[in-house]
Symmetry: C2
Subunit: 355 residues, 2 copies
């Protein structure tokens, strides 16, 4: 049966890097993959055209697809919009609407790029961390929230950080399952020393490990200490489990450690059989948008993650990943990697390896 991939190119460099991923998917289709590709507006461009970053039709299409590949959202032209009319609100609504509660973010140092890191080579060579970040809960979604005016004329801004047992369990399960295919080591981050919600996080993760994953080595680490340890000795980590907000910051820190920000994909998955959401880690990069110089690798590797986690094609995923690595090893470099290939030329270099 034909599977469907929905592309949401989005804003900034999103459309440019998505176009290259589409060419890669097209190549796989010409080689026999049974996949139908559609596209929809999302983010700032949807605000401009439809008045909202995510229309009901686009959300319905995303839920009906087998996998969704998002490019990037946001840009200075939409920063002045009211809160719920911003591109970011569309992304949160998409994640929540698709119920993709587990965000997988690899922080991998590509051998050919180890010198691109600001860290000394010895600390990043071979680095391979998998973040599992909770994506549809916590302070991003908790109620009550908002800005109110107090009797004395002051304003008061509130957000609520909240997690329930089942929200923690399901994402922890994803982390433990993935760790079984790796080194079997999970480090869970929270601030259980100052936040009750962090204490619950810790207790639930620990109880699940004891009950169902006794083979997994589980360590608890305070989030501030983890921010340090990622700089001190990033290679100590295998799988890192975090809530939504800590995962946002810690996975970005780790991504930058690798020196390969333009290379890193991510996946957001939910219950088995439900469509996953795939996106590069990098943002919409308004400063270089429209110039055709963005690195398309993260976009292509996000397609590979979709092939693996949503489309049941792990061998094709591995082939795409190998093609990207081969192109890098052959010296192909966009500007962010110190080279001068355009987005399209980098795509050519990768397609040339995808035989």
């Amino acid at each position: 049966m034909t599977q469907t991939l929905l592309l949401l190119p989005g804003d900034g460099i999103g459309p440019e890097v998505t176009a290259v991923a589409r060419r890669v998917a097209g190549r796989l289709i010409s080689q026999g993959l049974d996949l139908s590709i559609t596209e929809a507006r999302f983010g700032g461009v949807a605000i401009d055209a439809d008045g909202v970053p995510l229309t009901d039709e686009t959300l319905a299409a995303a839920k009906a697809a087998d996998a969704v590949r998002m490019g990037a959202v946001g840009g200075p032209q939409w920063a002045g919009q009211p809160y719920d009319k911003r591109p970011e609100a569309g992304l949160l609504a998409l994640r929540s609407g698709m119920n993709v509660y587990a965000n997988l973010r690899p922080a991998i140092c590509f051998a050919a790029l180890a010198d691109a890191s600001t860290l000394k080579r010895i600390h990043v060579e071979g680095l391979d961390i998998l973040f599992v970040r909770e994506l549809t809960g916590g302070v991003y979604f908790g109620e009550p929230r908002g800005i109110e005016t107090l009797a004395n004329g002051e304003k008061r801004g509130v957000n609520t950080h909240v997690y329930t047992t089942s929200e923690i369990e399901r994402v922890a399960r994803t982390a433990f399952e993935l760790a079984r295919g790796r080194k079997g080591e999970v480090v869970s981050a929270e601030k259980s020393n100052v936040m009750e919600a962090g204490l619950l996080w810790r207790q639930v993760v620990e109880a699940l490990r004891d009950a169902e994953y006794p083979d997994i080595t589980l360590t608890h680490m305070l989030a501030d200490n983890m921010a340090m340890q990622l700089v001190k000795n990033p290679k100590q980590f295998d799988v890192i489990l975090t809530d939504n907000l800590f995962g946002d910051m810690l996975s970005d820190e780790a991504a930058m450690l690798t020196g390969s920000l333009g290379m890193l994909p991510s996946a957001a998955i939910g219950a088995a059989g439900m469509p996953g959401l795939y996106e590069p880690i990098h943002g919409s990069a308004p400063d270089i948008a429209g110039r055709g110089v963005a690195n398309p690798c993260a976009s292509i590797l996000s397609l590979a993650m979709a092939l693996r986690h949503s489309l049941g094609e792990p061998e094709l995923a591995a082939r795409v990943e190998a093609a990207v690595e081969a192109a890098l090893n052959a010296g192909a470099r966009t500007a962010d990697l110190g080279g001068n290939l355009t987005t399209a030329q980098m795509g050519d270099a990768i397609l040339a390896q995808l035989t």
Copy 2:
């Protein structure tokens, strides 16, 4: 009039490094400084002796002192305590009770130690960031908070992230004032793209700059991006302004970048004329506690910050700082810096420079 310094040695290596700071203060007193030193139990040792981490008497003594020097709190033996009986609860109660809302955390790379960083020397040599972290609000203190059991048997953990206009203004003012004595550049971190409380933070900081500090260059940066930028190019920053939680993580990340964790002091200050709270950035380090090998530099430099910010002795502060730097330049190193001096010997080396 005689000023008073209250020492709270605390737990783990706290007493060891505090003893050296006390020797340094004693030297300054013998050279003419009019200071009276007292000590009190605090943290885990107070739990063991008094049943609570911070007694009413100790809090009263802290509020009556001119400056408070805390060593470090916490350790595995108190991790099982109920939430409000842990050493950390005492630290939060002390900060809140003293109303020290602005936490100053320098991230400085000492020239003699640039190679101790995991980052390449070029990225950290000359690094000099001053974090101004809000310390008595945000998700650390917001209500409602706690863990409740739901009707379906699940648990639900909640913390509330909340800031008012005046809480934001007073700490932003501290950042702007301190920036005037530096490069005049403040970067403020929040997640205004997903949190209303972050949006209020941004608006209030911006309005205060426009109204009272037009000479300051203010940049807003999302906290996840800052976690990246600190790794990519830490030298771009002068003063960084953050809320309580973001500051906890980002300042720890920055501290580790310098390779000088055992060297970094911090200050927590409030309204003019109120006592300040001074502590090393490092924790209680239970793994090396009691062996007399901890690095006392951060403890001594915290005393220097007390001399500058609370005791009206900026010249003495500069003399203490110069003595630490001179000892380093002369090759004095504790184990964390790759040497083999004991805590006391490192203290001797610094005192030898304090002539």
